[in-house]
Subunit: 440 residues, 4 copies
Amino acid sequence: MNRSGFFYDLLSTLFERPNLARIKGDGRSITELCEALITSSSEGASHSMGQQILSQFSELTPEAEVEFFRYLTEQLDIDTEKLKALTAAYQADRSPDNLAGLLEAAEPRRQELLRRINRVPGATGELVSMRAHLLGLLRDNPSFGRTDLDFQHLFGSWFNRGFLVPRRIHWQSPANILEKIIKYEAVHAIDDWDDLRRRVEPADRRCYAFFHPAMPDDPLIFVEVALVKGVPGSVQAILAENREILDPASADTAVFYSISNCQAGLRGVSFGNSLIKQVVEDLQAEVKSITTFVTLSPIPGLCRWLSQSLADQPNADAVAQAVKVATDTGDLAGLGDQSQWLRRQAASYLINQKDRNGLPLDPVARFHLNNGAMVHDIHAGADLSANGVRQSCGLMVNYLYDLRKIGQFHEGFAENHTVAASRDVKTLADAAAANSNGRK
Amino acid sequence: MNRSGFFYDLLSTLFERPNLARIKGDGRSITELCEALITSSSEGASHSMGQQILSQFSELTPEAEVEFFRYLTEQLDIDTEKLKALTAAYQADRSPDNLAGLLEAAEPRRQELLRRINRVPGATGELVSMRAHLLGLLRDNPSFGRTDLDFQHLFGSWFNRGFLVPRRIHWQSPANILEKIIKYEAVHAIDDWDDLRRRVEPADRRCYAFFHPAMPDDPLIFVEVALVKGVPGSVQAILAENREILDPASADTAVFYSISNCQAGLRGVSFGNSLIKQVVEDLQAEVKSITTFVTLSPIPGLCRWLSQSLADQPNADAVAQAVKVATDTGDLAGLGDQSQWLRRQAASYLINQKDRNGLPLDPVARFHLNNGAMVHDIHAGADLSANGVRQSCGLMVNYLYDLRKIGQFHEGFAENHTVAASRDVKTLADAAAANSNGRK
Amino acid sequence: MNRSGFFYDLLSTLFERPNLARIKGDGRSITELCEALITSSSEGASHSMGQQILSQFSELTPEAEVEFFRYLTEQLDIDTEKLKALTAAYQADRSPDNLAGLLEAAEPRRQELLRRINRVPGATGELVSMRAHLLGLLRDNPSFGRTDLDFQHLFGSWFNRGFLVPRRIHWQSPANILEKIIKYEAVHAIDDWDDLRRRVEPADRRCYAFFHPAMPDDPLIFVEVALVKGVPGSVQAILAENREILDPASADTAVFYSISNCQAGLRGVSFGNSLIKQVVEDLQAEVKSITTFVTLSPIPGLCRWLSQSLADQPNADAVAQAVKVATDTGDLAGLGDQSQWLRRQAASYLINQKDRNGLPLDPVARFHLNNGAMVHDIHAGADLSANGVRQSCGLMVNYLYDLRKIGQFHEGFAENHTVAASRDVKTLADAAAANSNGRK
Amino acid sequence: MNRSGFFYDLLSTLFERPNLARIKGDGRSITELCEALITSSSEGASHSMGQQILSQFSELTPEAEVEFFRYLTEQLDIDTEKLKALTAAYQADRSPDNLAGLLEAAEPRRQELLRRINRVPGATGELVSMRAHLLGLLRDNPSFGRTDLDFQHLFGSWFNRGFLVPRRIHWQSPANILEKIIKYEAVHAIDDWDDLRRRVEPADRRCYAFFHPAMPDDPLIFVEVALVKGVPGSVQAILAENREILDPASADTAVFYSISNCQAGLRGVSFGNSLIKQVVEDLQAEVKSITTFVTLSPIPGLCRWLSQSLADQPNADAVAQAVKVATDTGDLAGLGDQSQWLRRQAASYLINQKDRNGLPLDPVARFHLNNGAMVHDIHAGADLSANGVRQSCGLMVNYLYDLRKIGQFHEGFAENHTVAASRDVKTLADAAAANSNGRK
């Protein structure tokens, strides 16, 4: 990565934020402002209207919020009659003017509204937050999905990979950024500033995030990495308070032990793949001794699947019962040394259990397999936190990113839903199947 | 040399540029790559295909370039039959799924192609350059205007005002930026580095530009400002080599004496208005003594109009003849003291001459009047450079930005095409009309 | 403060730090290395020796440390015989060569040693820390004061005001800097990151520090400021958790409520005066509404003086007894409403109690009065923290920085030891004197 | 335009510069101000006096300047009587107090004066400039050498290697820095901005400089480096306008082809050694393929020596005559193919010609040999610029920095004045000696 002091200057400017609390309204309602903004030709007026809309939105009651999204969905929709006419016109004469008319008619008017609001400095983050609200209302108001399509379309364009900025997070990072890492960590909760420091300060720990220049204070996604010797089988060792720090030059393996999406309002705008790829490239260049890139991931759907699967068998044996107790109570001790049995079940779950699209049931598995990783190993008792036991029966899995095979594995998965797995894991899955068959 | 610092990190990343010269092709043609990219699901492969497309494009022959744009225009267009069907479906049932189908069908496939190319770091600038090529082919290939609509649509979204970064240019700015200011200056050419320094280093000179984070080395538009006492009537004094430097605290007027758009490929994506507004705000905050904001602008259409207008009069008098000679030869001396006559003609031209849409003939006048400025004063012999004489008969005009009236003037212009002008300028225009009438 | 992105680059380089833990010795003892370093002519060898000396020093036992400083003090001292001869030679012939010889002989050799150690990147902070160790040994080894003179001399040169960098600390500051603010706060302890945030994030709170470019991670001194309406009489209100945040534009007063020196090793190298001056200038430029600059300071010597003073009076009355109890137990409640009596005593203490040099007994008073401030007001019950009650009987004092009178007050204090005080405070002190007289 | 970022803040402060032109005097003369400043206890007053002194100094007539330095030299000198007494006192009782008295008396008062002036922001550069003036007066006023000793002492402390900041200069560097590179280049003049660009922009060219944080706009020393294949024998190829740019990964050799000290006022405060060492380390880390570090240096004393040496021989042969003509006229063509003879003479000059201290006559040779380099090769016709021919008879020399032998070579040179040279160069020198002997 090249460098220059100049652009420091450049980015610092982006810090301007509208102080929405101070925006005084001019008496118009939020929908009146929207109507006016869509048709305004004055930049000055547009700016003020955009600010007022964001300010009013932030203070809407839940009911008024629903009303607002209903307005966007129904009043600012496509005029299908007009669109039909203009499509026919363009079919008859494929002139640029006819296409211009068609394209304008084919776009819900709310898209232009959102683009105009986004001209206000700092508005991008506010619009991401607006969509988070919208997503929360979708279940009860399925028609709002129409408005959500426009958010998705715009965010896909604005948060294009080419506009994202990868950035390392460390103990010299600004406190206002670090507190967001604490807040957004979704896999292994960060207890406090000391816990955070253990994850970003030592020489054998890394944290990387993607930022967007219009939201420089707010990470979009981040990944936590441990540099270790050998592929680890438990997250406890990685998070331990008093562990010995490793000289990075002695490490041979980089472990991605946590990946967190930060912005609920960006659901479906995927960055994880790109971030992992970027980090792998950076680490390869920086720490020559590292040759293995692997995750240490939860299996968040395992317990639920196991419970259901065992529940279906009237003659569930002792092990099954134990698992049920263990996952019900969160007490893994009851499992005794049945860990090998659990590993087999997990292998089978990851490799053989598919959803109606033929893809793996487990969402984390889908993510990494689609990135071109393979299921490398499965460990029992690897995450004994409350969450780890409840969701994953304490198991964790290593997905291996073998740079020479990523392309091939991705293609196999994308085209044929082939789940790449190591010989060991396949053997485990086969044993589970044999067992299961044997039992019948 | 070690490095650190958070924002350093952030921006330095933006420097990554694809070294297109080094991209090796994989044997596929540019259109094959486009087809593959639109349908690819692998990020790694997409990245490589995007780079190859940009690399191949940069080496196309003129004929092949036309072929490529023809491909984009005709092969990646909308399927109108499908669009009609999906519009009907949505009309029948306004479900989100139906809308999703409609929106996808209503978007020419080349839009998705361009978005995917843009994922390559540094691609944004390359796509701006691609459109510059496209614009050059429009006259001979009017149908390419269909493809241009998609560029416009995407650029309007990507170069949204909220994503632009205002930045002052000074003598401490990086040389690679400054050389672009020299290159892009479109109004009063910058001869060399010494001339540049005279415009950006003295305490009473300013230069501001807009940048986009994905093109950090390349300004989008910039404006040059002189801080002076009193509204100036000639650009020579402003550009003089040995003038005395004014203490900014003694200045009462900021003169915008040059505004240059830098990117031909961003034609129609307007920033000038926003930049002027930003600079006015910044200067007001920084230099309290400044109360007047005014341009010193060319009247680029004046000479052509004058020649045509006089040519129509068989009995054109001596003055007319002199102008014709002067503008034909570029020698203003022949005009003698007819400058008052010229000022009247210019006032009349700016205020009364309209295009078929009822807007002023002069493009610079349209720009400032639409921003809310008024025609404040007109000066003869104000730009004696070759260009100034040839286009503007040596005249220049001050457009005044009176912050209290900008909104009102903009509205009057936008709604009724009212040209705001000072009493003096109106008097000049009236005199021209009287003369003209009297002559008949 | 002007700005440029370039020097960001510049400073970031300074982050290079020697990893002393990794420096391997070459078998020589620390004193052997010192001898070799003083005479070495090779930069490469010097660098290595400097690192080894710092590394070995950091691992010395307490006894070996004393030996090391004894070595510096006695073995690297001035050769007085030689100095006498060279002084005579210079007296006889004031040639540059003779002066050069004299100057070299007049400088203890340890000065050159310390300068050479300081060539190692990052050594400056290590040397500051080395002096902190030395200061801790002075009481038991008064002769080490000779070595301390050389540290003082060098630090006075290296930490010259012209080399110091003022810098605002806020919630966007790097966490590694912020944790040092927590650690170094010497007046009103910062409990945790939330407490810190309350002091640096709100719009009406400021924190400024001085840094040295060779120690960019470590503040030298910092001051905490509250922007308020009216001069405050208690620190509790300023530090309250749930107070309302004030719009800075509504503030009329800046309160310096805490000043902390960070580096024990820089004792006697004073920065406080410069920092206050710098902050006053910056705040005046930034927040136009602020017209009053005032401290809210402890009176750290008050309780001790009061106890001693009352102890001398065999017939100490009830109040005196109450104070004794209160300060012994730290329970102020016992004082009842005797606060007016306490204010009088404090006024008298600040204005009339002098040390043997004729300067005020109270160290904080000496500092601010020497800066040109005046004693403005005294408040009882103003700091009810354990520390505040134990040292200052819960009282606090406002020193007022009246910019028009700073020069005059400083001179009066520096030349005649005149204590500038408001009429109110003088009245309090007079009342205390009258009381005291009356009691006799 | 808002701004933020920690280090931005940090460094931007260093930009504060006194605008000396605007400093108004208070009626006191420069020497009165100096007396007042030495004794002042008020920081505010000191600041103002320091500014006035610098401002007045910058406007002194040549005569007044001499007077000023005479004042510094004679009025602010050491009181030798006092020093003798205090030395005796310390000899009798080595107490810290006695040492403090002695140290104060042993320091010319002008040192404290200069330290106090240096508290003014931006004063460091002014003081460096002041010493440059002083150096220009030394020949006519040798006693001023006493004052120069104090400048040297202070600058040695302030410009300690540990405070210097290495920084790469490239085409993204600020224009105000780059123009100083043009101005300060002392070996191969830089004609204009295009010439500069050829030296800092291409991937196979580097430029590095040392800066001091208190003079962030002004480089102290810089070196220009070319990355090439094989050790080059001529500077023309390196500076050629239309040469082909080399991929750095294909380079095996780094050539230091120009080293320039920038500040006349820092004469004798050496940085060159450190800068070369720093650049070698950085290049080794960055461009793995580079294994050879070599200079391409002038032999500035060669022509003069050769002329004198041949002039002593009454029977100087044709070659000698030709050289005389060539160096007198600057026309090398007359030399014909006598280049081998010249190389022998140069080898002999570099290896065998010593000054009265037993060190090589040639200053550039002294510099590199003392750094631990060896004489590697000698090239005729290697610098055909006017300067190159006049001083070095067109010859250039490679000094090789072999990292494994630097320590050993430096020691041999420092202790025994041994000139390390390659077998080839030694053979050339031997041949010169044989020739010379044979001729007798």
